[in-house]
């Protein structure tokens, strides 16, 4: 049984976690924005910005962690733009998000092309390498399956803990959740809806950008046009699937990674009979299925998509 063999190989689980990593960042980012009541469809473009800026910073000599910082700041910048358009100006979150995606994508592509006008093969950087953790990485099966990932994967896992700690264990988290459910109550407490929402969008967008940066700085070592390929949209579906909870977001991303890794290996087994495109469709179809499964009972943050104007109910 080849199928069981796939599931039993450490390699498969390592790949599942690797595929899940950018999605963990992306779903967390989308979750933070939506918990504060703002849908951020800029995610696809912010992934591109993170991928391009992180890579470009390292290529210009900033060092890997410098690249991470640059990517996060670039993401936060586009988050700020989305925040200004949707929070104080109260413009359509759908249209603004799509605008941010188009803007962020074209800025990235234009910058990359302008910096590197005539390269036939994209230049490479020295990317993050899998860590070698003493003892853990050497464990049989579990070592290669779980502990030979790059620092960015561990950063993603740390972010899950951080986001869930902040959301559920701190007054700030309470305020963020409240601003997504009932902004006038938050205002009545003397807190600023604008500051909370814009701050959450910026933080969420920074997380999304890290998801993009993972692709150019850890999964690969170069930037390609079209490399995000809908990963951002998949995150928007997964966040509904995760019912806006960080723990479930991690689970959803890992489940998705496992399906995707399985699909890639299956392609090697039966690729001769079934065209590769059928397998490549699976992630997108799976996201639609995940969304449809939970859509009816999804408990959307109550003020999601609703602009808030001071003194208005």
């Amino acid at each position: 049984m080849e199928y069981i063999d796939i599931l039993l190989s450490a390699n498969f689980w390592a790949a599942a976690i690797r595929i899940a990593t950018p999605l963990i960042f992306g779903v967390l980012g989308a979750l933070v924005c939506e918990r504060a009541g703002v849908l951020n469809l800029g995610i696809e473009g912010i992934f591109v910005v993170g991928a391009m800026c992180g890579w470009m910073a390292v290529w210009l000599g900033a060092g890997l962690w410098g690249g991470i910082l640059v990517a996060a700041l670039a993401g936060a910048f586009f988050g700020l733009l989305h925040g200004i358009l949707t929070v104080p100006l109260g413009l359509s979150q759908h249209v603004s998000g799509l605008g941010i995606t188009m803007f962020a994508t074209s800025v990235s592509y234009f910058t990359y092309r302008t910096a590197l006008p005539k390269v036939s093969s994209p230049p490479r950087i020295e990317a993050f390498q899998p860590l070698d953790i003493p003892v853990l990485s050497d464990l049989p099966f579990i070592g290669p399956a779980l502990f030979q990932q790059t620092s960015m994967t561990f950063l993603a896992l740390a972010m899950v803990l951080l986001v869930s700690y902040v959301l559920y264990r701190t007054p700030l988290g309470l305020a963020i959740r409240a601003v997504g459910d009932n902004p006038s109550a938050v205002e009545a407490q003397g807190l600023s809806v604008f500051v909370l929402r814009i701050g959450a969008i910026m933080a969420g967008s920074a997380l999304m950008a890290l998801g993009g940066a993972f692709l150019t700085m850890s999964a690969f070592d170069a930037f390609f046009f079209g490399m995000i390929n809908g990963r951002g949209w998949i995150c928007i579906a997964l966040v509904v699937f995760a019912s806006w909870r960080p723990g479930k977001a991690l689970l959803g991303a890992l489940l998705f990674g496992a399906f995707d890794a399985f699909q890639i290996r299956l392609q090697n087994e039966v690729g001769a009979v079934i065209p590769s495109q059928v397998f490549l469709m699976i992630p997108y179809l799976l996201s639609i299925v995940a969304l449809v499964l939970v859509a009816r009972k999804a408990d959307y943050p109550r003020a999601l998509l609703q602009p808030y104007f001071r003194g208005q109910r």
Binding site: S92, R113, P275
Partner: protein, 363 residues
């Protein structure tokens, strides 16, 4: 302090001028990236203008580029009117093209007056059916159509690639993944000799007119607008909201499907997996610039097409990356979105009043 005061009446001239100002603002803002890329700004605008309007040939290219954008712009504007967020025009365009190719490359042989209506109908049915899926998922299961339409774009593109590398591949195509050429009976004729502008443009303009009449004068148009204004109010007023969404989905998908038909049957003559450089997504910008008005779509499509064609020729002349066009398009969307504030609100700059200290406690 800035204060927004709701406007009660907006002069139509003002509402009409705003998107134009937004588009021009985006074009002007493009000076920043052009200068950053080391291009000479005024020369660049000269090249853009000449590339788009400089000759009869350039203008024909411009209108050929505008044709698919009119279709996708109409598709998006009809859907957005009902607040059905169809971002899947890209995918619907491709299935429309696929349907046209499936019957127009020799599967059926009939004279042109049968073939052309047939491929048009096939493209509309294909596009409409594809949009029916997310519409039903929304109305029956509550799944957000933004995400489903976006994700379906990727699925459709892969499906097209699969067909072009498999059953629909042209055996004479030197191994390229492309379909067989459309038969001459299934080709939309060119309007002028040696120019690429074709009768798809006339179909696009006719569609805009039909949609205009439908939205303004028919019961459907009223139901669509009412649903978009306020779903629950529309429900109370006895408007069948679910079937309105389904109607809108079908019409919107069909229009996007037509874009695909027009591209394969009018411009390219065969189908490749890169026949659309994002016409579906650009349709969103066209529709927003048009203020969702069908007639405005035509104007906006010509503007966006001019940006693309002009930027292409500027890029060739000056070596500034042609992604500048995408940048202008994206900025137009953001500018027109911001400009919509000026329609809804009067924006007043007011000096914050100093309140006497005693009064503070009472407030």
């Amino acid at each position: 302090m800035i204060r927004f005061e709701p406007r009660t009446n907006v002069s139509s001239l003002f509402a009409f001028a705003l998107p134009i100002i937004a588009g021009i603002t985006a074009l002007v803002l493009a000076a920043i990236p052009i200068a950053a890329a080391g291009g000479e700004v005024f020369a660049a605008y000269g090249h853009i203008f000449k590339g788009a309007f400089g000759s009869k040939f350039a203008f024909s290219e411009l209108l050929a580029r505008a044709t698919p954008l009119i279709f996708t712009g109409l598709a998006v504007s009809v859907a957005f009117r009902a607040k059905l967020w169809n971002i899947g025009a890209e995918g619907q365009l491709y299935v429309g093209a696929l349907a046209a190719v499936a019957i127009g490359t020799g599967a059926i042989s009939a004279p042109a007056y049968i073939m052309i209506p047939l491929i048009i109908l096939a493209g509309m049915i294909a596009g409409g059916t594809l949009m029916l899926v997310p519409t039903l998922l929304k109305t029956k299961l509550g799944a957000d159509e933004v995400v489903t339409t976006l994700l379906l774009n990727f699925v459709v593109l892969l499906f097209v690639q699969m067909m072009l590398e498999g059953p629909m591949k042209d055996p004479m195509g030197m191994g390229w993944p492309q379909s067989e050429p459309m038969t001459s009976a299934a080709t939309l004729p060119k309007m002028f000799a040696r120019m690429r502008i074709h009768w798809g443009l006339v179909i696009a303009l006719a569609s805009a007119l039909i949609i205009y009449i439908m939205m303004k004068r028919s019961v459907w148009g009223f139901e669509i607008r009412a649903t978009g204004e306020n779903v629950s109010a529309a429900k109370h007023a006895g408007i069948p909201v679910t079937s309105t969404f389904i109607k809108v989905g079908l019409i919107s998908g069909a229009l996007a499907g037509l874009a695909g038909v027009s591209e394969v049957a009018g411009l390219k003559g065969y189908l490749t997996a890169d026949i659309s450089p994002g016409f579906g997504y650009t349709g969103v910008v066209v529709a927003m610039l048009a203020g969702l008005s069908p007639v405005g779509v035509v104007v906006a499509a010509v503007f966006i097409a001019a940006v693309f064609v002009g930027a292409d020729s500027m890029s060739r002349a000056m070596g500034v990356s042609s992604y500048i066009a995408d940048l202008v398009v994206a900025m137009s969307l953001i500018c027109v979105l911001i400009s919509s504030l000026f329609v809804r609100f009067k924006i007043r700059f007011v000096r914050p009043k100093k309140t006497p200290l005693v009064a503070k406690g009472e407030a």
